[in-house]
């Protein structure tokens, strides 16, 4: 395997029309067309999808592990933000 594999692309696959595209992995490719073809071949060959997005990995901005405290912990102590005080009627699906 050589090092000249092109840049990294993140792959998002939609499993059914209407559902969100979910991240499922990444591929290497030299251009957009190669990226979408590689994504199709690697991630949808057992008919897992109805639509694919590929995004250059460098275009994705992610939070870093050090951000966990300032980003996410403040939400935990405000219990009134969590919809846990409602009585859920029986037989309700999709909550």
């Amino acid at each position: 395997m050589n090092n000249n594999q092109g840049v990294l692309w993140e792959v998002f696959v939609q499993t059914k029309p209407g559902l969100p595209h979910k991240h499922c992995g990444s591929v290497h490719a030299a251009d957009k067309e190669m990226a979408i073809q590689n994504a199709r071949d690697v991630y949808t060959r057992r008919s897992e999808g109805t639509s694919i997005w590929v995004v250059p990995a460098e275009a994705i901005i992610s939070s870093s592990p050090e951000d966990i405290g300032s980003f996410f912990e403040p939400a935990n102590d405000k219990i009134y933000r969590h919809p846990t005080f409602y009585h859920v009627p029986e037989g309700v699906k999709y909550l």
Binding site: N2, Q37, D41, V42
Partner: protein, 250 residues
Amino acid sequence: MEKQLFNYLLRLSDSSLIIGHRLSEWCGHGPVLEEDIALTNISLDFVGRANSLYEYAGKVESKGRTEDDLAYLRNEREFFNNLLAEQPNGDFAQTILRQYLTDAFEIHFYEALAKSKDETLAGIAAKSLKEIQYHLRHSSSWMLRLGDGTQESNTRLQNALNEIYRFTGSLFETDENDTVLIAAGIAPNLSTIQHQWQKDVDTMLEKAMLKKPEKVWMQKGNLQGRHTEHLGYILAEMQSVHRAYPGVKW
């Protein structure tokens, strides 16, 4: 008519199986992981198509031969695949070129075959056509990428073209067997398809900055079971398991 249809089905299925087997040789050897999977996917499309065609051929012949019997228990002179299909993989450029030349033919051929008066054949063709559209998209984008890439990739693709272009004539070989089927509306007329193929290929070669070899003597003989030296080696490997364990099942 059964006899002619059977021969015709063998030609189609042999061509699919042999190029499918060639592509399967890339499994584990692709230039990058993604391309390894891509070539293997395409290989499976061809083997799957060969399977459907052999199964139908066995029914048409009605001597109780299964798709395995037809694929694994015939010798070299009983195979009628086009000569392009059996050419070695060579380097990646040669594989891509062989694939492009094949896909550019199949896209027109199977589109026409999908209108065949034989319903089973038309059904198999319609299913294959979707796969072929993707094969062509894959090989076309690589043709442009390699041809219009670096000096090295262009040279490799040009060398491949000089080496295997002479086998493209065998895609269009016909005989009296075809005449009967064309008259019955079962088989498409290859001369129309050759015209469309040539037009597409010429355009592609120009875009990919390649020079079409001139004054090429086209190699033929596959309809009589005459092949290049490569087919014997393919069959020896491909059929060895079935011949060592006759009737073996997965």
